[in-house]
């Protein structure tokens, strides 16, 4: 893990679930590592980097309409 770290508070029941998940599934050495992974995954999947601009999306839709797909 790299980068400066900060403290946050998380619901206790979620922490317990996460610890149980790590224990059962493996693949993570610590709760911190697991939380880093979850956050990175969500941010990568849902973040602005993977989104199109409205203009781009409209162009895609125009083409799909022109081709008869929509």
């Amino acid at each position: 893990m790299s980068g400066e770290r900060v403290q946050v508070t998380i619901r206790k029941d979620l922490v317990e679930k996460a610890r149980k998940f790590i224990e059962e599934q493996g693949g993570f050495d610590s709760l911190e590592e697991f939380l880093d992974f979850v956050l990175e995954t969500v941010l990568e999947e849902e973040g602005p980097g993977s989104e199109m601009s409205e203009e781009d999306e409209e162009k895609v839709k125009e083409r799909l309409r022109a081709l008869g797909y929509m």
Binding site: T41, E44, E45, G49, S50, M52, E57, V60, K61, R63, L64, L67, Y69, M70
Partner: protein, 382 residues
């Protein structure tokens, strides 16, 4: 929700606007490498994210990792090397960090940053990927046409290569928007290089029964002699869909990509590419991407056990046949009747009938489909 792209991000390496103009100008002064149709298609597939997470052709580290472990060096499943070959003399003056221009049919196609230039071993490639060095294997034979060096590095597309089936060519970003607009959350993709017979229709509809939509995704591009021609496959599917599929449940689009006949490895690769198109499920044939007897029955299914982290669900649907007692297409799992009631579909027999302009029995192929195929003087590649 449709599948997340492989590696988490849909790659987009297409230059636009002023950047494209600048790169086009700069490319004039770069060393140039002319690509054939197959490699040009790879460039477009990389640039439009069909091969996400690849942003270019493989460097040696990834190449070795793919050959040995069927994974990229970052451990992501990736069973087929996507490489750019060049004759040794062409790359003599290139070095790491150089920019080269990739051309196709004399037109500027893309620019590429050279990150690696390395020698490769054809026999090792063949043995690992095709599990044979027999030059009778069509994929192995194609290796013999390749140059002695491989060049790895990121690329940026400047010009789309020509696409004869433009109206049916969709990129991953387009299918993803389309699926969302149709409200599909689960999409099953079907890879094909054949005209559809009743067995294909059966597995597609079986899968569609529990998914929201079906992506029929024929490969167009180089195939071995004797395979159906691209336009025949497309016309046959258009006819099948027109008569027998609910239009709002199916999307027909082409994928321009070389057929490698690499059996199990290629089955996984086909699934990964369809994941990038947004598919959540992928139908895997019993001898998927196989040829001759190079791969054993069900090997293309077994290999998926090695990839629990693939991110797309493979569907293994048993071989189907027509049962005269059941009165329809069924499979071993759902039909209790004996062989005397079962009419199995033979691809060889179908080919022979169609080549001789003889209508196949309706227990094998839809009449409308057969008619379309037989309208072509020669439906097969030469």
């Amino acid at each position: 929700m449709v599948s997340q792209p492989h590696g988490g991000r849909l790659v987009r390496r297409v230059a636009h606007g002023r950047r494209r103009e600048r790169l086009l100008e700069e490319a004039q002064g770069m060393p140039q490498l002319e690509l054939d149709d197959t490699r040009a298609a790879d460039v477009a597939n990389i640039a439009h994210g069909a091969y996400s997470p690849l942003e270019g052709f493989l460097t040696e580290e990834d190449y070795e990792s793919v050959l040995l472990h069927m994974r990229l060096s970052n451990d992501l499943p990736w069973p087929i090397p996507i490489v750019l070959d060049t004759p040794s003399e062409a790359a003599r003056d290139w070095g790491v960090g150089d920019e080269i221009a990739l051309t196709h049919r004399g037109r500027m196609l893309a620019v590429m940053s050279v990150e690696d230039i390395y020698a490769w071993d054809r026999a090792e490639y063949a043995e690992r990927v095709y599990r044979t060095t027999d030059p009778g294997h069509p994929g192995v034979a194609k290796l013999g046409e390749m140059g002695g060096l491989l060049v790895g590095g990121r690329l940026e597309l400047l010009e789309e290569p020509p696409e004869p089936f433009q109206a049916l060519r969709l990129w991953p970003i387009e299918t993803r928007v389309l699926f969302r607009e149709r409200g599909w959350r689960t999409i099953v993709a079907f890879q094909t290089r054949n005209v559809p017979h009743l067995g294909h229709e059966y597995v597609q509809k079986a899968a569609l029964t529990f998914t929201d939509g079906l992506l029929i995704h024929p490969l167009v591009g180089w195939k071995k002699p004797g395979d159906f021609r691209d336009e025949v496959i497309i016309r046959a599917y258009e006819e099948l869909i027109r008569h027998y599929y609910p239009p709002n449940s199916v999307v027909l689009s082409v994928l321009r990509m070389q057929m490698r006949y690499a059996g199990p490895r290629e089955a996984v690769f086909h699934a990964i590419v369809r994941k990038n198109y947004g598919a959540t499920h992928f139908i895997v044939g019993r001898d998927h991407a196989g040829v001759g007897s190079y791969y054993g029955p069900y090997e293309a299914w077994d290999i998926f056990r090695e990839f629990p982290d693939l991110g797309i669900t493979p569907l293994f649907i048993r071989e189907s046949f027509y049962c005269t007692k059941c009165g329809g297409m069924v499979n071993e799992k759902i039909c209790p009747h004996g062989d005397e009631h079962r009419i199995r579909i033979s691809g060889t027999k179908l080919r022979s009938l169609l080549a001789n302009k003889q209508m196949p029995p309706e227990t094998m192929m839809r009449r409308e489909v057969a008619q379309v195929v037989m309208e072509f003087d020669n439906p097969f590649t030469e």
